[in-house]
Symmetry: C2
């Protein structure tokens, strides 16, 4: 039997905290299930980001355009990951990021107000998000080392080694953007690898 969307969320929460059935049911009512087709946007630059997304199926990217119009991909996210424009979501200022579906994608979305309501109703959700934020901080610190210590070739090799499935689901020019390389240069690097 296939896991329901509700189960997927429950499992994700249970990795870090224990909730009673009642608490979980209450929390779950705050979410809205949404679907996006390939290339559809979950969030556009300039909008106020009011939703925190939990991906139940699919693949999205977060990105922005710099002054010269060049696209910079800051993150990918897949099933079982949480994603939003954190800065926009918590500050209520217009978002600097876009979030776009790269595949048919399904999410559960919770709004800012609802989330902060449940923070009060279910205190242990503070623990969940505290731990999640801690883990994000650690991931971002590791990413910093990753970009600063490794050159382009090493970054690519590392990605292929640690996330091979990812490398297959995402076109190369997007990986290049994520790795902060030009597609042309990444192509060069790949040639050397073989």
């Amino acid at each position: 039997m296939q896991a329901s969307i509700k189960d997927i969320l429950r499992t994700n929460l249970e990795r870090k905290i224990q909730l009673t059935a009642g608490e979980f049911d209450l929390f779950y009512t705050k979410f809205t299930p949404l679907s996006y087709r390939k290339k559809e946007h979950l969030l556009h630059t300039g909008e106020i980001c009011d939703a925190y997304f939990f991906i139940t199926e699919g693949l999205v990217k977060s990105y922005y355009h710099d002054e010269k119009g060049k696209e910079h991909i800051t993150a990918f996210a897949i099933e079982n990951w949480w994603v939003t424009d954190l800065e926009g979501f918590f500050t209520k200022r217009p978002s600097k990021l876009n979030i776009q579906a790269l595949e048919e994608t399904r999410v559960l979305a919770i709004q800012y107000k609802e989330l902060h309501q449940v923070f009060e109703d279910i205190p242990s959700l503070n623990v969940f998000f505290r731990i999640q934020m801690q883990n994000m901080v650690m991931a971002l610190q590791r990413r910093h080392h990753f970009y600063m210590k490794l050159d382009g070739k090493e970054r690519y090799d590392f990605l292929v080694k640690t996330l091979p499935d990812f490398v297959q689901r995402v076109p190369q020019y997007m990986l290049a953007s994520y790795l902060e390389l030009t597609p042309e240069y990444l192509s060069e690097l790949r040639k050397k690898t073989k």
Copy 2:
């Protein structure tokens, strides 16, 4: 009248949460005040990082050495900042970072076990640390843009503009390390500025 160390901590907490006098007193008992002389280490690579530090006076840097022995400064922290090796602190694995005092420095230190005890005794501390982690995530994301979007000269100019006091308290070759530039190249860039 000068603010006591206890007041400095209280003020820091009150920026984000409300505590009763009793709660704050309880929390405060968990901390140990420590002093470090210039160049002394709060944490060495390889040690298990068991303390979360709140700086009440002074200036520290976090750094590591890469395989080639080159030093990379990942952060500075001054009065009123919290600092630790987050990854080491939360995973209990040997720390990859060093933390060293650059000036005569005073801190309040709280141990892992004590902190997690007060998380249970005083639930709103989860809120405090959740918000602190959120802010760190945002700061790290901004830092990522900062390194990726700006070239060396722009990074230096930005630092001088936004944190001029900092630039004066820290020797240039350390700024270079933080900016991920060689001291020689930073010296070049400074010449062009004038």
